[in-house]
Amino acid sequence: MDATHWYGRATLWWTFFQISINERLVYRIDFVIGTLMRFLPTLTQVFLWWAIFDAVSSAGSADSASGPDGKIAGYTFSGMIAYYLMVIISRAFSSMPGLTTGIANQVRNGEIKKFLIQPVDMIGCLLVQRVAHKLVYYLIAALPFALVFWMCGDFFVSGWPPPDVMFVFITSLLLSFLLGFYLESCIGLIAFWFLEVTSLTFIYMLLNFLLSGHMFPLELLPTKPIDLRGFVEFMPFKYLAYFPAAVFLGKVEGAEMWRGLVMEVMWVLFFILLSRWLWSRGVKRYSGFGG
């Protein structure tokens, strides 16, 4: 393809990006409230772990008055809180609210026709749109995030990680965005076959919640009688929440960290290809039942 073609594509995506941002800014108030609400579940988790650590340490030693200082699955109380805060960061990149149901709805109500009629790629459009939405989100969320992390600075006992870990952390965050996007797109595209993906989305969310490290650090998963801890290593979920957080906190280091990053790249590529395949098959199938 020649240069003018690529220039044309680039200006198309750029225009689409700008329009997506404009669209997102229409609902700023809703966004600010949504952002602040994100911290509420974490607050309840802080209290929960406070109580757990408290109970564990008072059972283990006599002087519980000094506060919780025992370790659970390698996490101190501070470490645990730091973990949850980092998971918020991971999820700010990897969570894709409304993507699956959005695609499914477009398939069901026929809005997807727009992308069949016009010379433009739907997944590309959705990706650009999502990038725009995320950027708007970070813009609005930056201040409350900074405030919370500043207040909670004491929980990060080991301070900032070294540059190479920082590099892997940031890369893994960006990859977790792509992974989340393409994984959820694939689930959405299943609507071409099932139309109703609500139950499927629910199952996915449940698995994601448990196996990504969103609910608790993956170190807490049992190894017996079923080796769930080993199992999640082979799943894409852990890159959506656990992996970037664990890298930042030094829970995953050295060769293991780099191996994890390579695995994440593989998963992203896998879901990009899968989404392409599902799209091309799905469109044929869509043609089959119309709509």
Binding site: G8, T11, L12, T15, F16, I19, N22, E23, V26, Y27, G110, E111, K113, K114, L116, I117, Q118, P119, V120, F194, L195, E196, T198, S199, K284, Y286, S287, G288, F289, G290
Partner: protein, 373 residues
């Protein structure tokens, strides 16, 4: 790539020949039409679902389907610059045909070429040259001004900026919506939104335009405005337009050619006048008669009197009987005025649809409409 020019009637040039051979067209028409439909059929499987979550989960494994034959063996040619209407009752297959033509769905069997392209191959080359507007579907960005959607379309279709500005300004002026360009689409009225949809679809100057119920739900003024616009636009650009509509007014105002589709088959293909000639054997006669009201007593006995409102009487009569009956009346009564007209087109069409739903259609022996009413 060889670009075919369909703006005039296409002569069988070497260029066209090369292209025809290149795309392995099974039928080599000497003068190729802009739209060629050959024996196109399409049926849907409609999923029968029960309510409830468990039914949904069960539905993942086992489903019941009902087969709906939406289009049956349709063949049709449309020449460049034609304005064709697809007319038919709900669920007749009009929209399905448009979907096939715009490549949204694949057919079960049959073959179709629009500007030399197979629609459902969805080549970008084809997609840049047509547009589909659906009266019930929104293609604009809901929360943003229409101007933004237009700008996006400019890039999607790679329209040069100066050309884009010119076309947009011209279209906005024709439809009188320039002052609404900056308003979020969700705040526009239905009529205004439809005008914007039309503009969005026309910005890349499509050679073929498919309109699915473009005036559905609009008030008379907006309907009229859109009709006028389409007429003026088509006369100026000479592009090819296929329209489906329920409103006879749309079709009367715009289309020289009407294709009646019922139960997935083409039932009639010709002008509106042809339809009346073919499907209605009747005339409506209105007489104005001088003299006292008693004279109407005799006329009331005529079969199929529609209304008596002295000094006027209106009745329906078979076309073949018009001359004889009128000469009888003229010799008996003091007739002051006579109007002989065709029955309203809506009525004829309604009858055609009813016949078509009945399934059995016979060109020669139509039931006598006079006997029905």
């Amino acid at each position: 790539m060889i670009a075919l020019d369909y703006s005039g009637s296409l002569s069988f040039s070497n260029l066209a020949q090369t292209r025809l051979l290149a795309c392995k067209h099974p039928i080599y028409n000497l003068a190729m039409s802009i739209i060629e439909i050959n024996h196109l059929s399409k049926s849907y499987r409609v999923y029968q679902k029960q309510e409830g979550v468990w039914a949904s989960i069960r539905g993942l494994f086992r489903r019941e389907y009902r087969e709906v034959q939406a289009v049956r063996d349709i063949s049709l040619q449309v020449e460049p610059g034609e304005f064709v209407a697809f007319l038919g009752p709900n669920g007749a297959g009009k929209t399905t045909t448009l979907k096939l033509l715009s490549g949204v769905i694949n057919p079960d069997s049959g073959d179709c070429r629009v500007m030399g392209h197979v629609p459902w191959e969805r080549e970008n080359e084809y997609r840049r040259r047509f547009a589909l507007v659906m009266g019930q579907k929104n293609q604009l960005w809901w929360d943003l001004p229409a101007a933004e959607s237009f700008r996006l379309n400019q890039h999607i279709y790679a329209v040069p900026l100066d050309e884009f500005d010119r076309t947009r300004d011209e279209l906005c002026e024709m439809l009188d919506v320039t002052h609404l360009l900056g308003q979020p689409v969700r705040e526009l009225s239905l009529g205004e939104r439809m005008k914007m949809e039309l503009i969005a679809a026309l910005l890349h100057s499509p050679e073929v335009l498919f309109l699915d119920e473009p005036t559905i739900g609009l008030d008379v003024v907006a309907q009229h405005k859109i009709q006028q616009f389409l007429k003026a636009y088509q006369e100026e650009r000479k592009n090819t337009i296929v329209l489906t509509s329920h409103y006879m007014k749309d079709i009367q105002a715009l289309c020289q050619r009407v294709v009646i589709i019922a139960q997935g088959s083409i039932f009639h293909d010709g002008s509106l006048d042809d339809i009346i000639d073919r499907f209605s054997g009747d005339k409506i006669v209105t007489l104005q008669i001088g003299g006292p009201d008693e004279v109407f007593q005799g006329l009331r006995k005529l079969p199929n009197v529609l209304e008596v409102e002295p000094p006027r009487i209106k009745f329906r009569i078979g076309r073949d009987d018009v001359a004889r009956t009128l000469s009888d009346i003229l010799s008996t009564y003091a007739v002051e005025d006579i109007v002989v007209e065709d029955p309203p087109i809506e009525e004829v069409i309604a009858k055609v649809f009813t016949d078509a739903q009945g399934g059995q259609v016979d060109d020669e022996s139509h039931p006598d409409i006079a006997g029905v009413s």
